[in-house]
Symmetry: C2
Subunit: 200 residues, 2 copies
């Protein structure tokens, strides 16, 4: 296998790129050596050398602990549990939540063989047992696996023997997405939206 | 902008990847540092250092002239003109054509401002004027721009004053794609297929 075929094969293993689009991407890189190939190599190298997982929350950052865990202006008493770093980024983009995070590294999945041991659940329990956290938001996807994980975590958290009083556990609201038409909504969402109707 | 954001921005400039899929790809790379990120950096580096354009045909290879141009078992008298290296690879995959290639680097396009000067047309004419080539296959896409380019090239080639006799110029056949249903075929293709019908 020559150098180009090897590169195409590796690129094809990225999510969202198949063999065909990997070939297209590689040819594009060859056409834009100075403006794209070289900067891409440099950027990958920088990330490889500089970026690590935060030992506390699992976020990706140039420093460990990460900028969010180090930020003393953020509320250390509120912990938002997410499945992936991408979810953490999504929540940071809206900029509403001012607490800290905990990245599980996935959700429980019987089908994919993901049990509690494969996720950062033990470190989560240790963080909460260490005290100082009064609210946990389970910000997991509204999928079967996401909700299974949320229920499992809620059970485990409620079973903790906490010295410092009660722990508030919540999940994200389910309902009609903003901009959504009722007509196009699935039944499950509509049921949730009706049950959780809010007084005006 | 931090290292990760920079990498996501550069990855998002690859064809087939938008900002969202670039983010996903980068997170995937971070999860598979040893099995994907490191091999990707090495493969990009190898390609950057080793692969170059063939000075004769425009193919990408570790050597210049490329393996196809150096292969004396291939018919130097037959030249297949393609728009891009990807087309050359597609033809090599079927393994039927045993001549040499000429990569134009695109097709004429009034809309995108691509004129004959932007393509490797002058080098193509020089190759043919140098003699030894008896057949030219214009293997360009059956798009408006591809066919415009093929007609333009046919005109230029027929206008050449060749010492060594006649030059056969052909294009790929148009017709019903193998496995194609007539019912789903566009009118243009059906007209071409009917006009070029073949005796059994």
């Amino acid at each position: 296998m020559n150098d180009i075929e090897k590169l195409i094969q590796i690129m094809g293993r990225l999510p969202g790129l198949g063999p065909r689009s990997a070939r297209r991407a590689v040819l594009h890189l060859m056409k834009k050596r100075d403006s794209l190939l070289q900067p891409l190599i440099a950027a990958l190298d920088d990330v490889h050398r500089n970026v690590r997982s935060c030992g506390i929350c699992g976020n990706l950052d140039a420093a460990d602990p990460c900028a969010i865990c180090r930020d003393s202006a953020r509320d250390a008493g509120a912990l938002c549990v997410v499945a992936d770093v991408a979810d953490l980024w999504a929540l940071e983009r809206i900029g509403i939540f001012k607490g800290r995070y905990h990245v599980l590294g996935g959700v429980l999945s019987a089908l994919d063989g993901v049990g509690p041991e494969q996720l950062a659940i033990a470190p989560l329990l240790r963080r909460i047992e260490a005290g100082g956290i009064s609210e946990v938001i389970l910000a997991l996807g509204a999928t079967v696996d996401g909700q299974t994980t949320a229920h499992y975590l809620a059970d485990r958290l409620q079973g903790l023997d906490l010295a410092g009083g009660r722990l508030t556990i919540s999940r994200l609201a389910h309902g009609v997405p903003v901009g959504g038409e009722l007509d196009y909504l699935d039944d499950g969402t509509l049921i949730q939206a009706l049950k959780a109707r809010q007084k005006l």
